[in-house]
Subunit: 532 residues, 2 copies
């Protein structure tokens, strides 16, 4: 777009969103260009619509002038592209001002929200009004968008961990400015629009996950009624070989309905990275982390080779019954059970001991369970963001911060695999040598996302200011992805660097997806280059 | 299509499927034209492909000659169009010979099946090999297709009651002959194709539910691991006003995770119709059923005004815990619990008593719980088909039969409603006077299909040979649908008579669906007139 056309477009945009809703300043553009994922892209400008009508208007202007737009909810898509558009020169629609909690229904346990609503915002809203509903949060922090994550098919820690499956009745602005309502929502009178996602006739909701088919501006989000009872359980397994029995057992418990939430199994490095940054001095500035030091740190911080965190939800009787069964099935391991009471006591004890200069072990234990416990009880926390700082050089901030502010580099390989011990081991065997070769540490978690499949979240942490390290991160990422895909472990989600490993334009699936894209966005203005 | 073109097409078709795979005989065509739903349609011919390639070939022939085709799995879509195409002159692709159980994975609890696989077939397969997996069945009988029902978003009776949500990795023949594999399945190597339905990028699976976008020829179907323990519970509530507390309580238990299966609440008439046909003599040939007689029959057969059937699944501890909680929450009612042991004893006792000419009460009780018990334990049964014969004149067959063989007429109004007592009552208040006015009985069931919504299945039963009664059935159906839709209770599914109440071509949803149809089926040859 030439400058004159841009000025005319800017004029139209200002008419729609007002002068304070449009920002084409260099600083703002640079700010939005930042990325943890080696794919910075400089936007044309940033615009802040406050309503669906404004989004429609913006889409129409973009179509008329032929420039691309990219909508972000809160831009916290860490390691998968963050707030950036797939290419330079796209107009960022920052939907953070569309942050209305339109409705909360306590009886039927759902909220209707706009894309700008954050995990922290809905959590606070519910808590302040004492509405007995729990969120399912990810570790992306309090400022991350609920809707944005659900559309990327993120997952959390409670029985409502499948975020996309918790949506019902979407409102979507299409590339030609039309507003689509999905499920039952397009029937004006529909009483169950937020309660029954399928509607009648074909279901279109799936089209708007991990795509560039439209801009979702509102949806119903199912929430979990606060359970009468809750207990978290933690297992610290000392040996690498414990992975197999743990996966076998937890997977079986999911299929038997004993466990109904997304259980997470993290390795030592994953837990380490949530507590420390890379111990450069002790490692004598070598990478990857020497094996001896890895074992020392594990020991010092009371971290297992594999670390399980899961929860049991229900009424008192059910939780008691499940606890016994889980205890029984995990017999070879010491299972630590924590509930609110225990947590309160531990916190009190820890602060007493600290005043006397003691209790390091308890503090370590608390530090490793507190964030997980919070997430399992529906409370968003920022601590998991620390993991992004693992390889960042220099002073570590004491508080978790926006990874972009500290030049954290972050790439995820996140393959889906069968929930079997054999597949888990196979994935580890693929990952480890590739990380080793590129001198990174395989920080990884296996999550039982449903009764039959796991996702392995494996991150590459680096410092984006370090050119050589960043280059290695990029090749490591490429090799991880191509090797995993070849072996049949396809990522559940990807960022811009990953599309080439996944999108085969000649295949029926992707060519059909492209044909559908043309129907929904005839001018091809929404996030061109995203997945398709 | 003129006769000469038809002969040429028939020649091509025979080349694809062989001579015995094609039948254009008048008797066959008339046989397939039959419908319970007042929408008979005479097919062009019937063809029986045995493989995906054959289906592709047939689709291509149809596209080349420009005639419409309509695929049926087993044609048991009772009351929603049965085996018929939406209009006359379509070639029926009867997929009953594509009945391979391609794979059963006992560890990860799924089967890979073709559309011709019936409930009875997979049940027998699992039982004969002692594979510890349970099906989730509908009441459509042993001969009904599993995949066909899942694609219509049918639901059953166990924790796997959402049939569409149990599919993963579909193979679909599109209208241009291409084969699409959904989810992860289009990655040749994908290890989790049947374990994780979403894939990466947009999800296309929803497009093939309740549509005419493609012909699904294979899919993974999740099955429930046989639980260690199971108990069914039944509540017979005497008063119409019991509906409200029952819905309130059961709905709450679903949201709290105490109940995880689709609980059914049937009215007296629904249960009556599964046991008797219309008592013409006692009703003195009047319709609808006189109130006094209705109460008498209820009393004689030990049927409640509302009759609840649900199940609890898990290990022994969990089932015991849930039983106590349910018992507690349903305190005002007598809850009858049945497990396999009790069932065996009751059967034994009943046959002993019968030999002595006694035990009528026990037999009545058994007759009303046995089919529900079977369905809740994953066993398909034909008894629920009896309901279709309610108004059929003449001798009642002793065995349940194909409703079309006995001229049974059947139409369903099946609105989705919030799982609240208020909404349930509102639906009853809408239905009753309309049934009364058209002189039918509201045979109805409320099913808690998820944690927040119910579907009310309300049938109009009639004799299709009775012209006047059929006409009344038709107007009753139209009035039910239009009134329900106006009040915001949209059907979850419909047959050909219902499209006009639901499909608004000018709305964004349906016009977009039509645009997508053109991409997937450019010649518009697949089931034209179905939904779209």
């Amino acid at each position: 777009m030439d400058d004159e056309a841009f000025q005319r477009a800017a004029e139209k945009i200002r008419t729609i969103v007002g002068a304070d809703g449009f920002d084409a300043g260099d600083r703002t553009r640079a700010h939005y260009a930042r990325s943890t994922s080696l794919w910075p892209s400089l936007p044309l400008a940033v615009v802040f619509p406050t309503s669906t009508q404004q989004v429609q208007g913006l889409v129409r202007v973009a179509a008329a002038f032929g420039f691309p737009i990219h909508a972000i909810s809160r831009g916290r898509n860490w390691g998968y592209g963050d707030a950036t558009a797939p290419t330079d020169g796209q107009l960022i629609l920052d939907l953070s001002r569309m942050n209305q909690i339109v409705e909360v229904n306590a009886e039927l346990a759902y909220a209707v929200i706009e894309p700008g609503v954050t995990q922290g915002q809905l959590f606070t809203f519910l808590r302040d009004r004492d509405i007995p509903l729990w969120l399912d949060c990810t570790g992306a922090g309090r400022e991350a968008s609920l809707l944005g994550n659900a559309l990327e098919r993120g997952f959390g820690h409670t029985p409502y961990s499948d975020h996309f499956a918790s949506l019902s009745g979407m409102e979507v602005v299409l590339g030609d400015g039309r507003v689509l309502e999905t499920g039952l929502a397009h029937y004006e009178s529909a009483r169950a629009r937020y309660l029954y996602p399928y509607g009648v006739g074909p279901s279109l909701d799936g089209l708007f996950a991990q795509s560039n088919f439209g801009i979702v501006t509102r949806a119903g989000l199912w929430l979990m009624p606060r359970p009468e009872a809750f207990r978290a359980f933690f297992v610290r397994a000392e040996h690498d070989e414990d992975l197999e029995p743990l996966v076998r057992c937890l997977s079986l418990m999911r299929r038997r309905g004993i466990l109904r939430s997304a259980v997470h199994i993290g390795n030592d490095l994953r837990v380490l990275a949530s507590r420390l940054t890379y111990p450069w001095e002790r490692a004598e500035y070598e990478t990857p982390l020497p094996d001896v030091l890895r074992k020392q740190l594990r020991h010092e911080l009371h971290i297992g080779a594999w670390n399980v965190a899961g929860g049991v939800y229900g009424d008192r009787r059910m939780v008691r019954a499940s606890k016994r069964t889980i205890q029984n099935m995990l017999r070879p391991y010491r299972v630590v059970w924590i509930d609110n009471r225990k947590m309160r006591i531990a916190r009190w004890l820890s602060s007493r001991l600290e005043r006397r200069g003691r209790g390091q072990r308890l503090r370590n234990l608390l530090a490793s369970v507190e964030p997980a416990y919070a997430l399992m009880t529906g409370e968003p926390v920022d601590e998991p963001l620390r993991g992004a700082a693992w390889r960042v050089r220099g002073e570590t901030p004491t508080e978790p911060v926006d990874p972009r502010d500290i030049s954290a580099g972050l790439l995820w390989a996140s393959p889906v695999l069968p929930a079997t011990s054999g597949a888990a081991r196979e994935v580890v065997r693929i990952l480890e040598p590739i990380y080793e070769k590129h001198r990174f540490e395989p920080l990884l978690t296996f999550t039982l996302v449903n009764e039959r499949a796991m996702v392995c979240i494996s991150s590459i942490s680096f410092d984006i200011r370090e050119v050589e390290e960043s280059a290695r991160a990029k090749s490591c990422y490429a090799e991880l992805n191509s090797t995993l895909v070849t072996a049949g472990f396809i990522p559940y989600r990807t960022g811009p660097l990953g599309y080439e490993h996944l999108v085969d334009r000649s295949g029926v699936f992707w060519s059909l997806a492209n044909q559908i894209k043309k129907v929904l966005d005839p001018s091809g203005i929404i996030s061109p280059g995203r997945y398709l």
